[in-house]
Symmetry: C2
Subunit: 476 residues, 2 copies
């Protein structure tokens, strides 16, 4: 039975894209609807997002930020105030042109991001150095008119948080930008067990309107990279466009220095593609809505269900535990919860009860562990930690195996074909080289990592002197 069920999804190595689609639908994360490019996030998918959201939100609050809510719509004239920003976003927005039966005098954009709304508000509420910093965040839905979409990875509408802050000095804004990048790295590495490379985006890849864009990049099972969170330093660009000024301690008018940073439902795509396998999802315990699923064996026999429910209650104090006491066969349940990536399955039947033990099955290794009842709580807690760190280490090992060095364009191309992944290579800083690399290999610059290595002293493309190392990869 297990085999039949597994057959239901395409093997990763056979067709990775199809495997992904199979997993998101068969693990009940999403459903499609008649709304092109949008997805329905089903209860299991939403609970997963809610967990991730809570982890991010807690850290956002711990770092002194407050949540607000801005309007969904942006008047066209407001979007146009900052030139680079409107150029970047106008081609990919949804336009509201009618309200009820009337045509609007001014078209409205469905927010693709909310910089301009925060700027307008900041202009209203910031007057003195005493009003700074302003550390705001919002959780919201945004819309970008994408042509090609895939659940979680690229959808017309997605859920995210967007932080928007204003500071007295450039240094304060830079400190904030890096602080929030580190918050993202922390959630990715410690909650989602996804190792990241932290660095700065090139001029070409940075956010429309930003002075600096920083990113955390992760590597998927198939060797493609995924931008997993970005943090932008705006300098005074938006402040000048919107006239956001404060009076400093000496009574002089100064522009504020701004940042923004965002983290989206996209990370669920990363989680799937970093940890998943041919049986489906694998969710790290810290992110899992359900960490332990109890499956009673021969549950019609006297005492089994009572015992299983007692276990659920007692273990509920140390983990997120659920039970499936439906009349489906145990084999069906095993497959179902393997597909859903629940970290630990707990099997308990009449013999186990007699022997004062249960069986724990790890989702990451499928290893079965017989645990005596008097050690269960302790062993379970340790096992969840062990699974969490095993998943991280496995992902890190995979990334390391898939990270190569190239010193020539030919080498870069060859590496990408032989072993898709990150390529570390020097870059002279010229846009022409960046574009040529993309054209020849379809790899893009993922970031200029904070942790630099001098893998050569010449640009991988033009051969001129180069002193910065860049991570290159094909990307989602």
């Amino acid at each position: 039975m297990a085999k039949e069920f597994v057959k239901d999804i395409t093997a990763m190595d056979e067709d990775f894209a199809q495997w992904y689609t199979d997993v998101v639908t068969k693990a009940d994360l999403i459903d499609y609807s008649s709304v092109r490019g949008s997805m329905i996030i089903r209860p299991y998918g939403f609970a997963l997002w809610d967990n991730i959201k809570n982890e991010v939100d807690r850290r956002i609050k711990e770092t002194g930020h407050e949540n607000v809510y801005m309007p969904l719509f942006i008047p066209e004239s407001l979007l146009q105030k900052e030139k680079d920003h409107v150029e970047g976003f106008a081609p990919e927005v949804a336009w509201v042109t009618h309200g009820g039966s009337e045509e609007l005098a001014e078209r409205l954009v469905v927010r693709p991001t909310s910089e301009v709304l925060f700027c307008e508000h900041y202009k209203n509420i910031i007057h003195s150095y005493r009003d700074l910093p302003k550390l705001y965040n919002q959780w919201a839905n945004v819309v970008r008119w994408e042509k090609t979409t895939r659940p979680f990875l690229r959808t017309l509408e997605f859920l995210w948080q967007e932080g928007h802050t204003a500071h007295a000095t450039d240094e304060d804004a830079m400190e904030e930008t890096i602080k929030m990048l580190n918050v993202y790295a922390d959630v990715l590495e410690n909650t989602l067990a996804i190792p990241v490379v932290k660095g700065e985006k090139t001029e070409k890849e940075k956010f429309a309107g930003a002075k600096h864009t920083f990113t955390v990049e992760s590597l998927m099972h198939d060797g493609k990279a995924l931008q997993s969170g970005t943090s932008h330093h705006f300098g005074t660009g938006f402040a000048e466009a919107f006239g956001i000024q404060y009076t400093d301690k000496d009574g002089k008018l100064q522009y504020v220095h701004q940042t923004s940073w965002g983290f989206t439902t996209r990370v669920i795509g990363a989680l799937i593609m970093v940890h998943g396998d041919d049986r489906g999802l694998v969710i790290p315990p810290k992110a899992a809505p359900t960490q332990v699923m109890i499956v009673p064996i021969a549950q019609h026999k006297e005492g089994v269900l009572d015992f299983a429910y007692d276990l659920k209650n007692s273990l509920g104090k140390v983990a997120r535990v659920d039970i499936d006491a439906s009349d489906k066969k145990p084999g069906w349940k095993f497959n179902e919860y393997e597909m859903k990536g629940i970290p630990v399955r707990l099997e308990v039947g009449p013999k186990d009860i007699e022997n004062k033990q249960v069986v724990l099955v790890r989702r990451d290794t499928l290893e079965k562990i017989v645990v005596s009842m008097d050690q269960l709580e302790e062993k379970l807690v340790a096992l969840l930690e062990e699974i969490q760190s095993n998943l991280y280490n496995k992902a890190l090992k995979h990334r390391e195996e898939r990270t190569s060095v190239a010193t020539t364009l030919a080498e870069l191309k060859e590496s990408l074909e032989a072993k898709p992944g990150f390529i570390k290579a020097m870059w002279c800083g010229e846009l022409a080289c960046e574009e040529k690399i993309k054209e020849d290999t379809s790899a893009t610059s993922r970031c200029i990592p904070f942790e630099q290595e001098k893998v050569s002293d010449k640009c991988v493309c033009c051969g001129k002197d180069a002193d910065q190392m860049v991570y290159w990869a094909k990307a989602y």
Copy 2:
């Protein structure tokens, strides 16, 4: 100083509408933006909504519901599937007609509510009686193209939860509808200290597409009613329009019976208009983001700030406590937190420390209470409970004083003018009478209350036999 500050807002009895606008802006709940009819929910307003949301969400989960997320956009053809529904909503929706630079082949509606999306999804995932009930909820933003808007009460965009459920039988759906109405009543009465009248909407006032609409109605300080939460029984209307069928235990195809129910940011308007006074907001302790604000007196004197912070930490275990240790004058702080409606102010200065006491000031009565340190924790907890029930009782008393009985249309009209509020009057059930009452008095039928009283045996309008009592009022 206190006086000057208070002058800043219009007196309630002078101009209630202006008082309301003053409070929402001066208590920092909202700000306006260039987006017509939309509001910015500022940190204090959002924290308030977050608290209310958590109270509702907890109850929604406790009653077995799961959260999901549906798309923001609805294709025009999908909205048109249920006739009454589209007739009710089409005149007040925002239309997306372009994506990027392209005109769309089919226009999209920005969701005013999501019945049709849930129906489409339910058709996909409901097949057998084993799939029922489906108990879904979503927290989302929705848009209705309102001409006249007021913060919280009526805005182009608002935040809400919308529950959508599918059941095997009509009885199951009715049980659900009433259960969720009771959840709303519970949150309103026990968290927000707002007494409600529970009842059914008339045919004229019910939701577009519903068989029955139930409502919780509350009465504002000015005697106008506010619909504070609604719960709809759809019967099989949507199921037939969308073809949502399941196979019952006997193998027969049956239509599902559906419900939906919603609770919105509107309740913040209710909270303001039920409890507020000429000093600003008054927030019931259970809803308050901050329940106790510590204001140190003569804080430059040695030991005062340390003492105040120690208090914040120790009291933090029993209440949501904050401290304002800024260099603003105490008088300024008193006014600020009275305006923001924080239930209790705690004043502590050098003399208090010497005498091992603090001063508590109730926001609801402005009474000052000297409490010795060794009794503080206990007294504070009791005081918060006392304030919560005092606010409820005060609101209930106000509602009772503002509830009259009328047996003729002239009486109804006179009552409404002399003492705006709820009018209890019999109704024959004819639309013509309901319309005439509205035309003559601008009062609408608020609900046919569950708790019926036979205040007469003739219709208040036409004088014919009538056996149902209706609450009438002018409403927001």
